[in-house]
Symmetry: C3
Subunit: 305 residues, 3 copies
Amino acid sequence: MTPGGTAGGALGPVFFLSDYGLTDEFVGVVHAVLAAGAPTVPVVDLSHQVPPFDVSAGARTLARCAPHLGPGVVLAVVDPGVGSARRALILEAVGPGPRFWVGPDNGLLVAGAEGRGALVGAWALGPDAAGGATTFDGRDRFAPAAAALATGSHPAELGRPVDVEGVVRLAPPVVELTGGPGDRTLRAEVLWVDRFGNVQLAVGPDDLSGIDGDGIDGRATDWARASGVAVRVETTLRSAVPAPAGPTHRARRVRSFAELEPGQLGLLTDANGRLALVESAAPAARRLGVAAGSVVRLGPAGPGS
Amino acid sequence: MTPGGTAGGALGPVFFLSDYGLTDEFVGVVHAVLAAGAPTVPVVDLSHQVPPFDVSAGARTLARCAPHLGPGVVLAVVDPGVGSARRALILEAVGPGPRFWVGPDNGLLVAGAEGRGALVGAWALGPDAAGGATTFDGRDRFAPAAAALATGSHPAELGRPVDVEGVVRLAPPVVELTGGPGDRTLRAEVLWVDRFGNVQLAVGPDDLSGIDGDGIDGRATDWARASGVAVRVETTLRSAVPAPAGPTHRARRVRSFAELEPGQLGLLTDANGRLALVESAAPAARRLGVAAGSVVRLGPAGPGS
Amino acid sequence: MTPGGTAGGALGPVFFLSDYGLTDEFVGVVHAVLAAGAPTVPVVDLSHQVPPFDVSAGARTLARCAPHLGPGVVLAVVDPGVGSARRALILEAVGPGPRFWVGPDNGLLVAGAEGRGALVGAWALGPDAAGGATTFDGRDRFAPAAAALATGSHPAELGRPVDVEGVVRLAPPVVELTGGPGDRTLRAEVLWVDRFGNVQLAVGPDDLSGIDGDGIDGRATDWARASGVAVRVETTLRSAVPAPAGPTHRARRVRSFAELEPGQLGLLTDANGRLALVESAAPAARRLGVAAGSVVRLGPAGPGS
């Protein structure tokens, strides 16, 4: 292995994400373990407030972070299966981002790692030195592995190689184009509601073209900008039976929050390249009554609606 | 530019404040951008829980921090106008504190920068490399600029000079001496309620002398220490019509929390040199029913009250 | 004094714990003071969300962290007596963990310091440079002392030696074996409820042997694994009169969360070596209705219960 050229001759920072929260000392203890094992390696905390046990939310957070991460090692722990037979993984990615991704084999890591490079290797960590079942693998297994990788160890020193194709992947979010010509709607899952109440959807601006067979951003029939987008909320979560149709909202297609008047709903391309339903300095999620996992339908708004 | 003498030949740490909260990955992604652009520069998080979009609260937090900041670069983002025509600023201050202050031109930066030095320059950042409207300038414009400054770039490499006198400033808080001789009261805005429920006012100990024309701290007619301070709460926020007079509380002028009995209200000079209404190990704000923006009236308490 | 061999020739990181919370800038300002006084020393935040003024919770958090801390300096501030005559301490410990522990003399530090080494010295800090009563000793007294220690100062340069035996210690938690042969129960205080709702008790696995005079972990009469543990909750806090007996729950003795079916209550040896009442991916504390300070009784569960 040839370490990267960053400070200290190491790979770069450890990027750390978890559902540990910030109330207890879990994050601090993992930092202490990293400081002991890799004292010159900085640690960048990505988020520790992933909802407890929510692997999907953690995976999406990592995927949103990935394009902005330079070389380094990712340490990610959202791990409802701790102590079970689920494997403890190291993934290796080739690209401009982090080379190693360490965490449980439950789907948490893959989207992030592939969002910034190509997966080229996977290893399963051996049991921790203490042996037996553990309850705090972040501290006892994952952090020591991340510290070792960040200071130049090779994954083969820490675990046994496993098939990259065999690592656990999460189901993709709901994205569905329904209806016929002239009556198409785009169903999209809510991926994330952020602190500001912005509602990120599982689709990007190009997906809108499917609704009317035409482009929407600066091209011919710019219907969405002209007459708006109709937004109907299916408040149910992914696995539940669809609820009766909720109210229909009308959103303006905008490029920034600043184009919106107070109280207006907007549809913009957000900082992750996804479509998001937003208001200016107000929480669109509250108005819409949605949370991560909700499904909304987008369609053309009639000129009179 | 001659970089300061701190570790790594850089200017010192990046001091980072925002309203991004700690639930999402916003803070972590900005850290990742800073780590990529300035890998040897430490980052000191001042606070990220400024209430969303509350520029005034952010500015006051920065001003409270300023006297304790050594050399470095401040990165501050509370930015309801992101994507609008508001300018993105670099301010330069001469003094013992941070040399550069980076953030939106909405009043967030000035009080802090002037609290620790003299403003000597201002630059407006150009649009980000990607061009067009953006929704996450903290990541895409401010953090890269802060990283560049922290590693030795000059503001002139990052933007065009603008008039220091033209940067946006916030209105000062309410401070008003009312009434005639023998009947003076001091109206003061609540600047901040902290985690412990302490109520910081927009006045300092010297302002009390205006009430009776005499000093209060260790000088002749030490009425406030002798008979206490009457505190009447106007619960309304700054811009609203004053509410009917609230109840009157009596506060003891004290030097530390430890002088107060349980349940007693005290008026002390707090760690920022402001007067604060406090209780010992209890939240005075709850008893008084105040929040930042409330206004209280202070006056002498009669000996029998 | 011979500094340790860690990066920068310093003692290792400053480990920082407080009840300052993460909403205000208290933690950030202390970091700024540390950055000014010890610019090359990393800071590891252990937790800042100790409940306000809860010295006991802070002490327990430090004690849980202690086994995982390498060389360095602990800075801990949970300090309801700030401004009173309580002393400001530096403790010195000999062992593999932090050498110096800085904070108020109210019981916060001792359990942690002794959990990782032997106490060999104590010093009382002098008043801060500004003199007089203070309200923010974390910023004005403790952080400067920690920064000085982390960069090579000796405690004798910062304060006067005091008797190690005279430092304040907290009362131990409730642990009591009651009843006679065949009817023994173990009363144990709840030390901590974590983010996931796990309920840590003040006893370890060896204490269970007192209930039936036999071992429980892999030895002869493995009753707890066979028939379960009866758990009765006394919901009252330590100092209160015991409430009428609460409902009795049955817990399975398990080695990991993964052995539990949804909805099952388990008793496992947690990551700190304590017994904890847990559920799999669910908050046991909510089901049991307990918080830190509650007392529970553990006893054998009859085969038919």
